[in-house]
Symmetry: C2
Subunit: 107 residues, 2 copies
C-alpha cells in the first residue's frame, strides 16, 4: 500500500510552452490502466486529435470545453467525460484558473 | 463523447445501513477498467478484506484512514492510495464530513 499526495508526483510539461502539465499517478501496480492528472493553464488546450485508446476523465477543478464529433460541450468540477476510442477530441481551459482533471486510459 | 455530472449517476447503498454509497461512473466504453465514486459517511468504513484486483484511489473530499498490511495511514484530499492485489485493506472515514473518493479497478 502507498499513500502520496498527487503533488509529490513529478509534473511534466507535455510540450514546451503548451500550458499543459501531466503527472502519472500510478507508476507501479496496475497492470491494465493508467491514472494521469492533467493541469491546463487558462487559455491552454490539448491537441485536436484521435487515437485508439479511450479516455475516462473526471474534472477536479476549473472550467472548460470539450470538442468531440458532435460539437463542443462545457464542463466543470464533478463532471465525468467519456471519450470513446478513435473519436477526435480536444479539451480547452475556458476559465480563469487552472483546469485540473484525472484522465484514465487503458494500457 | 458524453459529459455528465457524477451526481446524475445513480448512487447505490453498498449494504443496507453500511454508510457507503457507490456510483459506477463509466458504464459504457472502457473495456478494461472501471471508475467508481464512493461516498462514506462520518463513522463509516469498508470491510477489512482482500481480493485479486488492485485499487487506485484518488481522494476528492474529506479525511480518512486506510489500513493495509503495514498498519494504518491517514489521508486527505488530493492523495492517491495504491492498494496492490491481495493486500488486505480497509478504509475508514475519520472526519466530520462525507469522504468521497474515486476508486479505479481493472475489469
Amino acid at each position: 500500500m502507498r499513500v502520496i499526495s498527487y503533488e509529490e508526483v513529478e509534473a511534466k510539461e507535455v510540450e514546451e510552452g503548451s500550458k499543459i502539465r501531466i503527472r502519472w499517478l500510478n507508476t507501479g501496480g496496475s497492470k491494465n490502466f493508467a491514472v494521469r492528472l492533467f493541469e491546463i493553464e487558462p487559455g491552454g488546450y490539448s491537441p485536436h486529435h484521435s487515437h485508439s485508446w479511450e479516455h475516462e476523465i473526471f474534472v477536479l477543478e476549473g472550467n472548460g470545453t470539450v470538442i468531440g464529433n458532435e460539437g463542443a460541450e462545457a464542463f466543470s468540477i464533478g463532471d465525468m467525460i467519456s471519450i470513446p476510442s478513435e473519436e477526435t477530441h480536444q479539451i480547452k481551459n475556458t476559465g480563469k484558473s487552472s483546469l485540473k482533471f484525472l484522465c484514465i486510459i487503458p494500457k
